[in-house]
């Protein structure tokens, strides 16, 4: 009886050790991958940081209005953020690769999904960034044009332009990420449609005169407004 227990134990121990010995190389490979991944991620971070500095990425993000957001949240600069983000993503990628080597079945599927998700994440971030940039640019352009054309409430107009563009960008981002895309699409559709409808009514009824003047200025040359007496600048 004792011999049976001992032989079973030792067999179980053997199996455990064998299993472990089977597992150990994979673990070592995983650790190596993690280490190599860290090195590569760090290198990527440094390279990316210099690259972003070179193209004055901070300036761009300032224009986009992203910098202001970051400062308010007491976060470091956009360059730094992006570099660190890339570092983590790359390292995580390598770690997950290592984990997949371990051969744990359910995990592999999830890991594969993660890697498939990554490109879409980058694209969404890209769209977000440039969307913010565009919103900032066009809202400022609208502001200046309105001020110079003596249109009432220029800031409201500017904000409206900014909002529309941001909402539009957000809906694209959500669709790209695949998060509640239908909901977002419908919500955007409703909001945008309502806004347009409202503007049309306001423009058509209330802004008739403005529309007329606008069209005249565009297409009919040489009509000077009576109340626009201003000395010729040149």
């Amino acid at each position: 009886m004792r011999e049976m227990i001992i032989s079973e134990l030792s067999q179980a121990l053997h199996e455990l050790v064998r299993g472990f010995a089977h597992f150990l190389p994979r673990l070592i490979v995983m650790l190596i991958l993690a280490f190599v991944g860290w090195v590569i991620a760090y290198a990527a971070k440094v390279v990316l940081r210099s690259l972003l500095r070179f193209i004055k990425f901070d300036k761009l993000s300032e224009n986009a209005g992203a910098s202001q957001l970051l400062t308010k949240a007491a976060l470091p600069s956009a360059t730094e953020m992006l570099s660190r983000f890339v570092f983590w993503v790359v390292w995580l990628g390598f770690i997950l690769l290592g984990v997949s080597v371990l051969g744990i079945l359910g995990l592999q599927e999830q890991i594969a999904k993660f890697f498939l998700f990554l490109p879409r994440l980058f694209v969404a971030m890209f769209i977000m960034f440039f969307g913010l940039l565009a919103a900032s640019f066009f809202s400022r352009a609208a502001l200046l044009a309105a001020v110079n054309a003596n249109v009432p409430s220029p800031r409201v107009l500017s904000l409206a332009v900014r909002s529309i563009i941001i909402v539009f960008v957000l809906s694209i981002v959500f669709e790209e990420l695949g998060l509640a895309e239908q909901t977002m699409l419908v919500a955007f559709g409703i909001a945008f449609g309502a806004l347009m409808f409202g503007l049309a009514i306001a423009f058509g009824v209330g802004g008739r005169g403005l529309a007329q003047r606008f069209l005249e200025k565009r297409f009919v040359r040489g009509r000077k407004e009576e109340n626009e007496d201003e000395p010729s600048p040149l």
């Binding site: 400022r140 200046l144 001020v147 220029p154 407004e225 007496d229 000395p231 600048p233």
Partner: protein, 425 residues
């Protein structure tokens, strides 16, 4: 240097240039839908050439930006040659008038570049650009612009005019003082519609790399004057006559700002070695009186100017925060807040600081450069208001003295600009 490149001269235009051959004098005439006035303008130009330079080989080159009213045909139809025996001006030689369409909508940069290219190919010794906007061109204007180049060896002749006292304020309150303070030469009309230049200067400018800005509104005429100054070419001014004003609309201010302030600001970076080394200013040689002022009353909506200034300062606060220093912005807000017209005062010193800060912001591109220029418009209107109030009852001499005072203020504060410039590094 690329050798194989798409040329902007059409085959047809090149053929016409071959037929004209070498000339001594070239007159460039950019047009866009000027059929009403172009006939008398071409006639005046031809008279000017035949009277002042009867033995010289000359050509009139019309560069047209897509006219739909037959303007180019009117110009070429006035050509003086033996195929048209009815040409009634008695001329010793053929005087060609040729035309090319350079674009389907006007772009002064491309027009000017075409004229320069033609001048180089035809080896013109003296060239002059005329504007169809000036409906009161006299034949003598040709001589006044060409003689200093053709006979006295100057390279650039800018005009001076008899102006209404309250017109051309962008020139007198911004362009003239700032160009004078920075570049050290007192050229009254650095940006002008009529001017003369030598073939030498034209060729040199053609080589320079100022053509890649893409938009057609970089005020290349101003860049040309600045290039002449920095290149140490001989420049003089010539008094032409009265500057007739086309009816302007308020919407023209921003494009005018682009052509003048925008062009000037964009030139400051490449020209930094030149203007940073200059102190004070020198007068430029002139023929005729320097400038004459007419005291005709003008119809101006002062209230609107003041309102646009105040509105601008209020609404554009976020923009100004990126551009102006806090103290300057605070002062502007204070002025904008004054209730009564008599209290409103945009002093010269503040205006100079405003302009210089804008220039520095432009150089750093704190925001889109075109937006910076647009943001200047309401502030300029405020300055116009103050100028109008100060000179409401002034004599011609007083106006000149006020302008001179403003110029000296620009010169005095030049170190401020230099300081802002250097702090970027």
């Amino acid at each position: 240097m690329k050798l194989a490149e798409e040329s902007y001269l059409t085959d047809d235009f090149l053929r016409q240039l071959i037929n004209v051959g070498e000339v001594d004098i070239l007159v460039g005439l950019p047009t866009h839908n000027n059929a009403e006035t172009i006939g008398s303008i071409v006639h005046a130009i031809q008279s000017g050439i035949l009277r002042g330079f009867p033995r010289e080989r000359a050509v009139i080159i019309n560069v047209d930006g897509g006219s739909r009213d037959g303007t180019p045909e009117l110009v070429t139809g006035a050509s003086i040659d033996d195929a048209r025996p009815a040409s009634n001006l008695h001329a010793l030689r053929t005087l060609h008038s040729i035309s090319t369409k350079y674009a389907s909508s006007p772009a002064s940069e491309v027009a000017f570049r075409t004229i320069l290219a033609a001048a180089e190919l035809l080896r013109a010794k003296a060239c002059v650009v005329m504007s169809p906007e000036s409906a009161n061109i006299e034949p003598e204007w040709l001589s006044k612009l060409l003689r200093p180049i053709y006979r006295d060896g100057f390279d650039l002749v800018t005009p001076t005019y008899r102006r209404q006292k309250l017109e051309g304020l962008l020139i007198t309150n911004l362009l003239y003082p700032m160009t004078r303070a920075l570049y050290g030469l007192r050229i009254r009309e650095a940006y002008s519609q009529e001017f003369g230049f030598s073939g030498r200067l034209g060729s040199k400018f053609l080589e320079q790399n100022v053509w890649n800005d893409g938009t057609g509104e970089t005020g290349v005429e101003l860049r040309f004057t600045l290039a002449a100054i920095t290149g140490r070419y001989r420049i003089c001014q010539s008094f032409l006559g009265e500057k007739e004003h086309i009816e302007r609309r308020a919407a023209d201010l921003v494009p005018a700002l682009r052509q003048t302030a925008g062009a000037l600001f964009s030139a400051l970076d490449p020209d930094f070695p030149v203007w940073s080394a200059v102190a004070g200013s020198e007068p430029a040689p002139s023929t005729g009186p320097d400038q004459e002022v007419l005291l005709a009353p003008a119809r101006v909506n002062r209230k609107r100017l003041r309102e646009m200034f105040s509105t601008g300062v209020a609404e554009l606060q976020s923009v100004f925060q990126s551009i102006l220093s806090p103290s300057t912005l605070a002062e502007l807000q204070r002025i904008a807040g004054t209730g009564r017209e008599e209290e409103f005062h945009y002093p010269a010193e503040l205006w100079v600081r405003t302009v210089y800060e804008f220039a520095a912001a432009y150089q750093k591109s704190v925001i889109s450069r075109d937006h910076i220029i647009q943001a200047l418009a309401p502030l300029f209107r405020g300055r116009v208001f103050t100028f109008l109030m100060e000179n409401r009852n002034a004599s011609a001499d007083d106006v000149e003295n006020n302008i001179e005072g403003l110029c000296l203020e620009f010169e005095r504060l030049k170190p401020y600009l230099l300081q802002m410039w250097k702090s970027r590094e």
